[in-house]
């Protein structure tokens, strides 16, 4: 009992409070976005989010009390293996929704994979001496394998956030810094080439020539379209560029103070595509109804998770702890950044949820589990190695 209390005391409560606040914001805005939908189930989706959060809270506490070292040492490999199996399975028996085969019964294996990959990467690279070119290749395989499986669903967004989380771990563990720098440069060159090619193709006046150029671009047509919309947001306002334009109008028209909860006209009048206003574009609803001040508060709450998280990492004297916290925080940051940045038009549109706020049961539970692990690092940072038994105080 005493042990429990002292663990509770060592938890980071600011981080916890910020997480709860973000979940509450999520419930509020899922309710707001759902209130204009005619389907009963969608109007009540906020209850699902709240209930999921309740379950997530149990998971959170469980992971916080579970020694992260045990988890990484013993569970990382089986979890990684199972989630890879599920990623394969979902391609064959998964449920097809929103243009992708992403669901296995009630959950999305790709969301679980995000955490599994981080845990496994930490498991592999926390050990001493695991550096050099070969280990780097192993790292690429750890993130590349699941990433390719996720891409096959297709779910570009998840694939995109998997890469930086693992890269940060590789970088922090000094696996092969030179290689990572080269890889980052390569990614940037590839991305830049894609953008340049699309830009070049769009400037062609001859449509046949444009088609010819696109034949050599290894992207799906909807991905090319997203890049095109990103580069020329005003070119096709009623077609491909409609969504992003409406999202920007929602955010921009929100102004400094917003229009008030549930009073967003873009949402009420259905200009903000209702199909995505609860998940990937829920930020637009928040920005319209709460304005710049609300948006800043939300970003502050995220910092309220990230900054204490980094402090926990810094205070931890164990590479496993540091690596796992860094990986998880990077995951949260990338999700937040990419989601908001695509809404404001800084990056091309990618289907990626906003942590804690977007509707999505699997992702919420995975996130809470992940933050539970971060708390576990805070709780167990000074404790003895778990090999000593479970008697430590």
């Amino acid at each position: 009992m005493n042990a429990m209390l002292s663990k509770l005391r060592r938890m980071d409560w600011i981080m916890f409070a910020c997480m709860i606040a973000l979940i509450v914001i999520g419930v509020v805005f899922i309710n707001s976005a759902g209130s204009v939908r005619p389907v009963e189930a969608l109007r009540n989706l906020w209850r699902v989010h709240a209930n999921t959060a309740a379950v997530g809270l149990v998971v959170y506490m469980a992971f916080a009390f579970l020694d992260y070292r045990k988890l990484i040492d013993w569970a990382a490999l089986p979890v990684f293996a199972v989630s890879c199996v599920m990623l394969v399975a979902v391609l064959f028996v998964g449920t097809n929704r929103f243009g992708g085969r992403r669901w296995l019964w009630f959950f999305q294996p790709s969301e679980v994979a995000k955490l599994a990959v981080i845990l496994f990467a930490v498991h592999v690279f926390a050990a001493a001496g695991r550096s050099g070119f070969r280990w780097f290749l192993a790292g690429v395989a750890i993130m590349g394998g699941p990433a390719l499986l996720v891409l096959a669903e297709p779910d570009l967004g998840t694939a995109i956030v998997l890469v930086p989380s693992v890269l940060v771990i590789l970088l922090a563990a000094r696996v092969w810094t030179k290689g990572i720098v080269i890889m980052l440069a390569a990614i940037m060159i590839v991305a830049g080439t894609f953008l340049w090619t699309v830009d070049h193709a769009e400037r062609q006046t001859d449509p046949d020539r444009r088609e010819q150029i696109y034949k050599y671009v290894p992207l799906r047509s909807h991905q090319i379209q997203r890049l095109r919309v990103f580069l020329f947001p005003d070119a096709d306002r009623s077609g491909a560029g409609y969504s992003i334009r409406q999202v920007r109008i929602s955010i921009g028209s929100g102004g400094k103070w917003g229009k008030g909860l549930k009073k967003g006209e873009q949402k009420l009048l259905g200009y903000l595509p209702p199909a995505v206003s609860m998940n990937d574009f829920i930020f637009a609803v928040l920005a319209e109804e709460w304005g710049f001040m609300g948006v800043l508060s939300m970003l502050a709450l995220f910092l309220g998770i990230l900054v204490p998280g980094l402090r926990i990492a810094a205070q931890c004297n164990d590479d496993r702890g540091r690596l796992v916290v860094i990986g998880i925080l990077t995951l949260v940051f990338c999700h937040t950044y990419v989601n908001v940045a695509m809404s404001v038009g800084l990056v091309p549109i990618t289907g990626i949820p906003l942590p804690f706020i977007s509707a999505g049961r699997t992702f919420l539970i995975v996130l809470m589990a992940a933050l539970g692990i971060v708390q576990s690092v805070a709780v167990h940072r000074d404790g003895p190695e778990p090999e000593d038994g479970d008697t430590a105080t």
């Binding site: 209130s35 204009v36 005619p38 926390a126 001493a128 940060v168 970088l171 922090a172 563990a173 000094r174 920007r248 109008i249 955010i251 921009g252 028209s253 929100g254 102004g255 400094k256 229009k259 008030g260 549930k262 009073k263 006209e265 873009q266 009420l268 009048l269 259905g270 200009y271 920005a287 304005g291 710049f292 948006v295 800043l296 970003l299 995220f302 910092l303 990230l306 900054v307 980094l310 990492a313 810094a314 004297n317 590479d319 540091r322 690596l323 860094i326 925080l329 990077t330 940051f333 950044y337 908001v340 940045a341 404001v344 038009g345 800084l346």
Partner: protein
């Protein structure tokens, strides 16, 4: 330790930098450019609807209302309330079902023009607008709807202005009627509510005064172009308070006197013809009638094709305004013009011509109406007796050109310029005209015919009213007008004064007084009342004022189609005329017997009449003749 504290710190820096980038982008969107985005939102979510202003009234000179608008109850269907998921046809079916149920419930017929196709087109093109189902409902039906409207969400009553002409047929040809039209600036908005637009008469001529200034209503629409449903609207806070209220059109005061108009119309009630009463001092039209007439109330809000066909059927052609758009041979009413022309050419008042009952020119034999001839006769007497041979001779004596230019001088052959549409110019024939029209040269006989107002000469009743008023006022030609000048504004100036010596005009005026007092047109001045018991002498009523006039009987056609169009032009009081009048009755007996009593009735209404004791029997022969 592999993971350095510096790495953690720099990761924190990356996080902060990332959030800073997001924050600045959001600052730009939400604080700097927010106005632009609000404008974009306004633009895409707002539909502007042009709303017509209330159409102005039309009044007579005494303020009597001739045309106005009354509220009419209508029921509309707000399509957004019937939106169904899935295919558009689901929504169409929902609208149709609901209308059928409502029609049953309140005992109305399902609007025939509301086909599925029409509903579908409406939803596709004008989803922000309601569908108007029934217009101009009677009070009982409307009350039934109002009682049960709660049971039928999505239907709403509204009030529409409907044009109404309180006096029915009165002044129909002057007023005209309205149809449905686009407001003038409909193009500047997304949609418009239909406006009334004048289709004929002053409704058309002064349409731009009568129509109000259109206002603009703004409605918010959702992404599918529908207005928010009542339920959704309740969730929204801001309303668009930027509506522009329409303002009503101007009232149009006419120079018409409704009472005189009514008398004039009653005098033409049983015939086909036209009449114009004008003020010779400024050209104001006091009354203008064409018979048979129509009821403009049958033509609003829009004229149906059946009504239109009925009203334009020959020979009645009720829609035609014969006073301005039909031209007739003026007959003897033209003789004063020939007379003035001859006096200007040197014919002396005392010069006589011996009427032998027939005028022979080459192989043309032109009979005077008096078979035995009038004998030696001077101009003034010839006018009084309307001697044809005298004027044939006169025309031949002064020459074709003198007659033609006199006709033109008095405004014949050209539109008078009255503020009504559809005026015709008539014809003053000349050599070139005849060549172009009939490919024949001008014969001396044509001059003869023209001198007595026959042949190819064609005039409108309004032109003859202008001639009458020019004779009344000593030769001033006015543009007849219907739009009353505001009080205190100067009377309009004449267009010109005819270039003939005043004493020539004066002599002809005197001759015309003789006509009205004891000549062919004595029934202009006098009315005889048949005694009831048959024994007593006929009672005789004179106008309270002196008057002058000229009758005319123009023969047209030959054989079976031979008919007479009968005319009178007149003015009164003789000394200082305030009224000039021209009237034609198609297929009459003679000007003196058919038209003169009708003109008398109009003048009697305006000036009054008085019973006179002097007993003079009327010469039956004279009465029938011209």
């Amino acid at each position: 330790m592999k993971v350095s504290i510096w790495f953690i710190a720099s990761l924190g820096a990356v996080f902060l930098l990332g959030f800073f980038v997001l924050g600045s982008a959001l600052f730009r969107l939400q604080c700097v450019d927010t106005g632009e985005f609000r404008a974009d939102l306004q633009q895409q979510a707002t539909r502007r609807i042009r709303v017509p202003g209330l159409r102005g009234r039309i009044l007579d000179r005494n303020g009597e209302v001739l045309a106005t608008c009354r509220p009419s109850h209508c029921i509309q269907c707000n399509v957004e309330e019937f939106q169904k998921r899935g295919a558009a046809s689901n929504t169409v079916a929902a609208v149709e079902d609901a209308v059928v149920r409502l029609a049953d419930a309140i005992g109305l017929k399902y609007p025939a023009e509301l086909t599925r196709k029409r509903i579908e087109r409406h939803i596709r093109q004008a989803s922000a607008m309601p569908i108007v189902l029934w217009e101009d409902l009677d009070d009982a039906t409307f009350a039934r709807f109002a009682e049960r409207s709660d049971e039928f969400p999505g239907f709403e009553d509204f009030t529409q202005a409907k044009r109404v002409y309180p006096h029915g047929q009165l002044a129909a040809h002057i007023l005209g009627f309205t149809g449905r039209g686009r407001p003038d600036d409909a193009d500047s908005a997304h949609f418009f509510e239909p406006d009334m637009r004048g289709r004929s008469g002053v409704e058309s001529y002064y349409n731009r005064f009568l129509v109000g200034v259109t206002g603009e209503r703004r409605v918010q629409v959702d992404a599918r172009g529908f207005r928010p449903t009542k339920q959704r609207e309740a969730m929204m806070e801001a309303d668009l308070n930027s509506n522009l209220a329409p303002s009503a059109g101007l009232d149009l005061r006419l120079t018409i006197d409704a009472n005189v108009q009514a008398v004039l119309e009653s005098q033409l009630a049983d015939v086909t013809g036209a009449g114009v009463v004008m003020d010779p001092r400024d050209g104001a039209v006091i009354a203008l009638a064409s018979a048979p007439a129509f009821n403009p109330n049958d033509c609003v809000p829009r004229i149906s094709s059946e009504t239109y066909a009925t009203l334009t059927n020959a020979p009645a052609k009720r829609l035609q305004n014969r006073a301005i758009s039909e031209s007739y041979a003026p007959g003897s009413t033209f003789k004063p013009i020939t007379a003035i022309a001859s006096l200007a050419c040197g014919w002396l008042p005392d010069d006589e011509y011996d009427c032998k009952g027939v005028y022979v020119l080459g192989n043309l034999r032109l009979h005077c109406w008096d078979r035995w001839g009038h004998g030696p006769i001077s101009l003034r007497t010839a006018l009084q007796k309307s001697c044809n041979t005298f004027f044939c001779n006169l025309g031949t004596a002064i020459g074709t050109n003198a007659v033609i230019s006199a006709a033109r001088e008095f405004g014949l052959g050209a539109r008078t310029g009255i503020d009504l549409g559809g005026e015709t110019a008539g014809v003053v024939p000349d050599n070139e005209w005849k060549r172009a029209t009939y490919n024949e040269r001008w014969y001396p006989g044509d001059t003869c015919q023209m001198s007595i107002g026959q042949g190819m000469l064609l005039v409108t009743p309004l032109q003859m009213a202008v001639v009458a008023s020019a004779l009344a006022n000593g030769g001033k030609i006015f543009t007849p007008y219907l739009f009353a000048r505001a009080e205190g504004q100067p009377r309009p100036e004449p267009v010109r004064t005819v270039q003939y010596p005043p004493d020539a005009i004066e002599l002809v005026r005197e001759g015309m007084r003789d006509v009205a007092e004891r000549g062919t047109g004595r029934r202009i001045l006098t009315r005889w009342e048949e005694p009831e018991d048959g024994a007593a002498r006929r009672r005789r009523f004179n106008l309270k004022v002196t008057c002058a006039g000229k009758t005319g009987t123009a023969e047209i056609g030959a054989g079976a189609t031979r008919r007479k169009n009968t005319w009178v032009i007149a003015f009164a009081p003789y000394e200082n005329p305030t009224v000039a009048i021209a009237m034609i009755v198609e297929r009459g007996e003679s000007g003196g017997s058919t038209v003169a009593p009708r003109v008398h009735a109009v003048l009697a209404h305006m000036f009054g009449e008085v019973e006179t004791s002097s007993s003079r029997t009327s010469g039956t022969a004279l009465e029938r003749a011209d």
